[in-house]
Each structure stands twice: as structure tokens, then as C-alpha cells.
């Protein structure tokens, strides 16, 4: 009797396992194309990059194991600390210059009554201009002689021409101003979508209680978007920390390395060192990855908290 019971239980388990396997198989077949793409373009290159950072490379050919030699070369490079500091400056300036404008513009659009759709489209235009074209456009606006647009304005107002991107103290700020102009529209839409979700009744209740526009902003709008604001700080840090194309196209990392970021330095190691810096490029990639993974873990943790709130 007991043996029979065991047999039934085992058979049930087998059937369950079989059907679960069949269910899983369907899911795996559905996921397979994406898994293959991710494997080829993300996982394989990421893992190999990490492993090969421990090898001596001759151009892109793996030679002998060299331990942490590539890491030592990267960290002891005389430009490593200045470049790291530049990257931190990019992040700080992006927070100072680029963090709040999308929010203000989203609030503005949310508040206006007429031509709301038109404003939304107009404000989104920078985001649809191809990146390299926009960078060149700004490069010429910043051009340091009298043919640069900004200098034309300065000259008309009776001021002398300014060096803009040629000025080591301004070059990072200049790139961040461009970056803010190019990227704010996407973030603005996120804020705008959240603001649209805030109940009108809350604003009406606040109005009845005699709250002015700033009080309404602080007591009604702020609680609705502060989770998103927090998330955007972290996502902005992660994204700006990897800045590379902008210094590449607009300044070439100059003047005298003043706009060289870790991403740009990695590019230099990988593609502009005559094949001699490939190992260092991978080591610097791992270092950047380790720095960013801390922010990413924090981001996901924060994201979970924010999601739980709503």
C-alpha cells in the first residue's frame, strides 16, 4: 500500500516536472533569439574583456597571462588621476547644469493651457537631431574666433571673443551645456508623464486651502515626483560617467587633456594606440565597470523602493 502511494507521488512529480519543462521549453524558445543576441553582443564581450584584461595583448591578439600588469599600467599612467577627476567634473557639472531644467520645463508645459502639444514637439526637437550633427553644430557655435555664433553675439554686444572649448576652465562646462540641450527632452517627458498622473483633485484641494503656486509645487507636485527625481540623479551619474563621443567630436580631449574623460581615454587606448594599448583599454573598461556597478546596484535598489511607493 505504502509502495503504491510512493509510486503515485513519484509519477505526479514526474508529470509536474515534465509539464514544467515543457512550459520552460516554450519560454526558452521564445527567449532564444534575444539570448543569442545578448550573448554575442553583451555577455561574451563583457566576460572576454574582463578575462583578457589579465593578458598581454598584441593589438587584438591574446598573448601570455600578465596578471594585473595592465591595471598597474592604467593606474600608474600619469594622466589617470587627472582623467578620473575630469570625469567626476563632467558628472558634477551635469548635475549642476542639467539636472533641474527638464523638471522646470515639464512643470511649465504641464501648467500651460494653449499650444501644449506644439510646445512639446518644439522642445523635443534637439533629441531627434543626430548626435554627431548636433555636436558639430555646437562646435561651430563655440568656435573661438569671430565666426563662432556665440562670439558673434559677444562682439555685437561690445565684448571680446571668448575661447569657449579652447579654454581649459570652460571646456567641460561647454560640453555639458551641449549635453543638457541634447538630452533634456527625454528626461522632461518622463517628468511630464508623471506630472500628468497627479490627481487634479489634489491641486483643487490645495487651492481651496489657499495654497499659492509655490506651495502647490512643494506640497502636491514634489511628493509625486521625488522618487523619479532621485532615480534620475543616479541614472544621470551612470550615463555621464561614460561620456566619450562629445570630447571625441568637439575637443579631441583637449586642450592639454582638460576634457579627456575615462571613456575617451579608453577609446584612445583601444583604437588610437597603434594596437599597443588594447590590454589597458580592457583594464580601464573593467575599472569603469566596477565604479559604475556600485551606482547600478544602488539604482536598482532605489528603483525597487520607488516602485513600491506607488
Amino acid at each position: 500500500m505504502k509502495t503504491q502511494q510512493i509510486d503515485v507521488a513519484t509519477a505526479q512529480k514526474r508529470i509536474k516536472r515534465k509539464s514544467s519543462f515543457r512550459n520552460d521549453l516554450d519560454a526558452w524558445i521564445l527567449m532564444l533569439p534575444m539570448v543569442i543576441i545578448l550573448y554575442i553582443f553583451v555577455w561574451r564581450s563583457t566576460v572576454l574583456g574582463g578575462v583578457w584584461s589579465l593578458f598581454k595583448m598584441q593589438a587584438y591578439t591574446v598573448k601570455e597571462f600578465c596578471g594585473l600588469d595592465n591595471y598597474v599600467k592604467v593606474i600608474s599612467h600619469t594622466q589617470f588621476l587627472p582623467t578620473l577627476w575630469n570625469t567626476v567634473q563632467y558628472v558634477l557639472w551635469s548635475l549642476v547644469i542639467g539636472y533641474l531644467p527638464p523638471l522646470f520645463i515639464a512643470i511649465m508645459i504641464n501648467e500651460i493651457v494653449h499650444f501644449k502639444g506644439g510646445f512639446r514637439v518644439l522642445i523635443y526637437i534637439p533629441a531627434v537631431i543626430p548626435g554627431i550633427a548636433a555636436m558639430l553644430m555646437w562646435y561651430f557655435m563655440y568656435y573661438p574666433d569671430q565666426t563662432g555664433l556665440l562670439n558673434m553675439v559677444l562682439n555685437k554686444l561690445g565684448f571680446e571673443s571668448f575661447g569657449w572649448l579652447n579654454n581649459p576652465d570652460f571646456t567641460i562646462v561647454g560640453i555639458i551645456i551641449y549635453n543638457t540641450w541634447k538630452a533634456f527632452a527625454g528626461t522632461m517627458l518622463l517628468y511630464y508623464a508623471t506630472l500628468q498622473g497627479v490627481s487634479v483633485e489634489l491641486y483643487e484641494a490645495a487651492l481651496i486651502d489657499g495654497a499659492g503656486p509655490f506651495k502647490r509645487l512643494w506640497h502636491v507636485t514634489r511628493p509625486a515626483i521625488e522618487g523619479l527625481l532621485l532615480l534620475n540623479v543616479v541614472s544621470q551619474i551612470i550615463s555621464v560617467f561614460q561620456i566619450m563621443e562629445q570630447p571625441l567630436a568637439m575637443t579631441g580631449g583637449g586642450p592639454n587633456g582638460a576634457s579627456t574623460s575615462l571613456g575617451y581615454q579608453l577609446y584612445q587606448y583601444g583604437f588610437n594606440s597603434g594596437g599597443k594599448g588594447t590590454g589597458q583599454a580592457m583594464a580601464l573598461g573593467v575599472i569603469t565597470f566596477l565604479i559604475l556597478i556600485c551606482f547600478t546596484i544602488f539604482y536598482f535598489w532605489l528603483n525597487k523602493k520607488v516602485e513600491n511607493r506607488y
Binding site: Y39, Q58, T61, H77, T78, P168, Q268, G274, G275
Partner: protein
């Protein structure tokens, strides 16, 4: 959960590594097609329709008619340092590709060019090349490239700005500055007469360092030397290097003859000049091809000898090499050498004559300056070279006096010819770019400190890592 995660990570690592290992084991491909012809692919093939593509197509047809055992496959990839190494590592290089001498040592060291010694010997090239040039393409006795063009740096000038500043003779010959300081005087005159910058000096993308090298040599600078143990030492923390950098600084702050923009790559330099926004620049004799795309007409430009420095009169020697990919078979190397010979021949063959005539006719049709006689890669004047020079003279599309001083400079060079630094040249150029940018953006920059740091950076970041 943790165990499962670890298992996934371990699996991924294992698959990635094994796939990485197998990636290198490509399938052996044959060098023959179905008709038994040797197949070679040729890089740098023009991608756009037009008369340049027509010249290549005619050249291919003529070559295949003369060499029925070879099939030519066009490949539009042209040498670019950013894509070369990934392509080479993935065995995706065309059989024949062309690069600048400046990349020669990196290409040879990486093993991405075939040894041509036997092929060249078989085809009778022993003793035919200029030994100074062949040395640049030789490692451990193996020749890894076919020199197809050679040049020395000269001083290019804008004819209209020179005329406006009174720097041209009546017959169209420019006044030749004998040294750097006289060149500065000319630049000041141009600025005074036209309001345009007297000259443009590159500062970025390693071009600044590259052009600064011959300037510094002429001030008596030696950038590096190898000691008895084979170690390389940076040797330019010297008053001579400080003086050379101070000279560049003075171009901006003392003489004010440079454009306002101080972030100028090689391409930006050519654009600035070709659009009439600078009086002079230091370039090689191959500059007409670079100017034509910005619409500069042949009679608007000229070139003359490079001025001397306070210690030496020296110019940089460079050029182009054609290499063959390292996995090419013996038959492919032989076919590739025959292809290279069809436009780079010591002997005056009918095929060479036809190809050269078409090439020069295309340059004339494209409104590109014809008249500059470059340095030769051959040891002595070959029949082919004489024919080439006569053809250039015959087809000159500007006043020959605009380029006469450069042609004489090449033919009987009074200056020493010096090749690029033997190791870490690109690293050195990058560091010098930084120094040049600093002295051109900071009026109070301390040249002595900059040179001291540059020498230390080169030693620590590059020479110690060889």
C-alpha cells in the same frame, strides 16, 4: 539563489572563453577560384562613382588581361588605425592594403604584414629601393612592405596671400624663408597685409606632435635614445626642447600669427589653409590631394623648402607603403606584387605608362595641383621615375615656379633627412600635442615645466612599458 547565480556566471564565462578560443580557428580558405585563378583583394578601392573609380576599374581590367591567372576583388576598406587592428585580428584584411610609414613599425611588430623578402628577390628588386626607406620597412632582415611613395616635409603657402604681402617674385617664384624666424617675419607680413593668420600649426590628433618633431630636431632636440642594455630613455628634457616649445608659444603670444582656434587636427589644418584662412603650413608634397576636396584651385597653392632651425637644417621623411596581409599564400604574394608593380614600377612597362597617364589625367580633371615631384622610393633614377617626372611637367596645371623650390629641395636636398622616432612615436606625438595646446591657450605656460613633464610622461607611460 546565490548558487544558481554563480552557476550562471560560471557557465557564461566558460562559454565565452571557449567561443573566444574557437573564434581564432577560422576555416582554411583557398587562394584560388573555380577557374584556378589566384584571388587577391585590393583595399582602398574607391567607393563612390566617378572618374577615380573609373581609373581603378580600367587598371583592374588591364591587369587581368595581362595576368590571366589572377582575379582582382575590389575592397573599399581603406587603412584607418581605428579599424585596422580589429580587422587584422579577425583575418578580415584585404590581401593588399596601403598605409603611411608612420604606422609601419606598429604593423610590422604586430605581425599583420607578410614577409615580402623572397617575393621581392624573385622579382628582381634587390638593391633597387632607396636603402634609407627600405630600412623603415624591414625588421630582422624581413621586408614587410613595398614602399610606394616617399616624401619630405616642405612649406606650403597660399599664393594669393603671398602676393598680397609682397612675398612673390614677378615670375611666380615665392620668397624662400631661410629659417624659422624669417618664416615668422613672412607670416607677420601676411597678417598685416591681409588680416589673415600668417600660418596654421596643428595641435591635435597627434598631428601637432608629428609636425613639432622636425621643428624640435632643427633646434637640436633628440627625443629618445637606446642604452647599452636595450632600454629606451626619453632625452628631451633639455634647454633645446624648451626653446623649440617657446618658439611655438611665441607664434601665438609674441607674433600673433596663428588662428584663434587652438584645437586643430591634421584635417582641420588642411581645411583652414585650403579655405584661405592661413598663409602657410608645414606639409608633405602630397598636399594637393588633401586640398582639392575643399575647392582650393591649383594656382592658389604652392610649396617650397622647409626652413632651417638654429642648430640643424632637417626635414622629416615619410611616405606610403603597400603591405600584404600575413596569411597570404606564396601565389597571392606574387600576384599582389605584380598588381603593385602596375603603378609602382622601377621598369617602364606599358601597363605602368597607361595607368600613370590615366591617374594624372584624372588629377587634372579633378582640378588637383599637378607639378610636384616627390621623393622617390627607388635607389637611383629609374626609367619609370623619369617618365613620371616628365609626365608631371607636361601636365602641370599651374605656374611651375610655384612649386619649383620644393622640387629642387627634393632633388638636391640641402637638409638632413630624418625618419620618425623609432619607438612610441604616436605616444610622443600625443604628449607633445598636449604641450602645444597648453602653450597656445595659456599665456603664462611654463615651457620648461611642460617639457620636463612631457619627458617624464613619455618615459613612464610608454618607454618603460616596451
Amino acid at each position: 539563489m546565490k548558487k544558481r547565480l554563480l552557476k550562471v556566471v560560471a557557465l557564461l564565462a566558460a562559454i565565452s572563453l571557449s567561443a573566444g578560443l574557437f573564434a581564432g580557428c577560422g576555416e582554411e580558405t583557398s587562394d584560388k577560384n573555380e577557374q584556378g585563378q589566384t584571388v587577391i583583394s585590393i583595399g582602398g578601392w574607391p567607393a563612390k562613382e566617378g572618374n577615380t573609380l573609373d581609373v581603378y576599374t580600367d587598371r583592374k581590367n588591364l591587369f587581368e588581361a595581362n595576368n590571366p591567372d589572377v582575379q582582382i576583388v575590389p575592397d573599399t576598406w581603406a587603412f584607418d588605425i581605428k579599424t585596422f587592428y580589429p580587422k587584422a585580428a579577425g583575418n578580415q584584411l584585404p590581401t593588399v592594403y596601403t598605409a603611411h610609414f608612420t604606422e609601419a613599425s606598429s604593423i610590422i611588430e604586430s605581425g599583420y604584414s607578410a614577409d615580402l623578402s623572397d617575393g621581392l628577390k624573385k622579382r628582381g628588386y634587390d638593391g633597387m629601393f632607396n636603402p634609407q626607406i627600405l630600412k623603415l620597412l624591414t625588421k630582422d632582415g624581413k621586408v614587410c612592405g613595398f614602399p610606394t611613395a616617399a616624401y619630405i616635409l616642405g612649406l606650403t603657402y597660399n599664393v594669393e596671400l603671398f602676393e598680397a604681402a609682397g612675398l612673390m617674385e614677378a615670375d611666380g617664384t615665392p620668397k624662400q624663408p631661410k629659417d624659422w624666424y624669417e618664416m615668422v617675419e613672412f607670416a607677420v607680413k601676411i597678417k598685416e597685409a591681409t588680416g589673415k593668420p600668417g600660418m596654421v600649426f596643428p595641435t591635435a590628433a597627434n598631428s601637432g606632435g608629428w609636425i613639432f618633431n622636425p621643428v624640435a630636431w632643427s633646434f637640436g632636440v633628440d627625443f629618445m635614445e637606446q642604452d647599452a642594455d636595450g632600454n629606451w630613455k626619453a632625452t628631451f628634457n633639455t634647454p633645446e626642447a624648451v626653446e623649440a616649445l617657446q618658439f611655438i608659444k611665441d607664434l601665438k603670444w609674441k607674433y600673433d600669427i596663428l588662428p584663434n582656434n587652438t584645437l586643430i587636427s591634421g584635417e582641420e589644418m588642411y581645411k583652414t589653409f585650403a579655405t584661405g584662412n592661413a598663409g602657410m603650413l608645414i606639409t608633405a608634397g602630397d598636399m594637393p590631394g588633401r586640398m582639392v576636396k575643399y575647392g582650393m584651385k591649383p594656382d592658389q597653392m604652392g610649396i617650397m623648402a622647409l626652413p632651417a632651425g638654429p642648430k640643424r637644417h632637417v626635414t622629416l621623411m615619410g611616405g606610403m607603403l603597400t603591405a600584404i596581409e600575413p596569411n597570404a599564400t606564396e601565389d597571392q604574394i606574387d600576384a599582389s606584387l605584380r598588381w603593385i608593380e602596375s603603378t609602382n614600377s622601377f621598369k617602364l612597362t606599358e601597363e605602368f605608362k597607361t595607368n600613370l597617364e590615366k591617374s594624372i589625367a584624372t588629377q587634372v580633371a579633378n582640378n588637383q595641383l599637378v607639378g610636384i615631384k616627390s621623393m622617390s622610393a627607388w635607389s637611383d633614377e629609374s626609367e619609370a621615375l623619369n617618365f613620371q617626372n616628365e609626365l608631371i611637367e607636361k601636365n602641370a596645371n599651374s605656374n611651375p615656379n610655384h612649386v619649383r623650390l620644393y622640387n629642387e629641395f627634393v632633388a638636391n636636398c640641402p637638409a638632413e633627412l630624418q625618419a620618425e622616432e623609432p619607438v612610441c612615436a604616436q605616444g610622443l606625438y600625443g604628449i607633445l600635442d598636449g604641450c602645444i595646446q597648453e602653450v597656445l591657450t595659456n599665456k603664462d605656460a611654463d615651457c620648461k615645466k611642460l617639457i620636463e613633464k612631457a619627458a617624464s610622461d613619455l618615459q613612464m607611460n610608454y618607454l618603460d612599458n616596451i
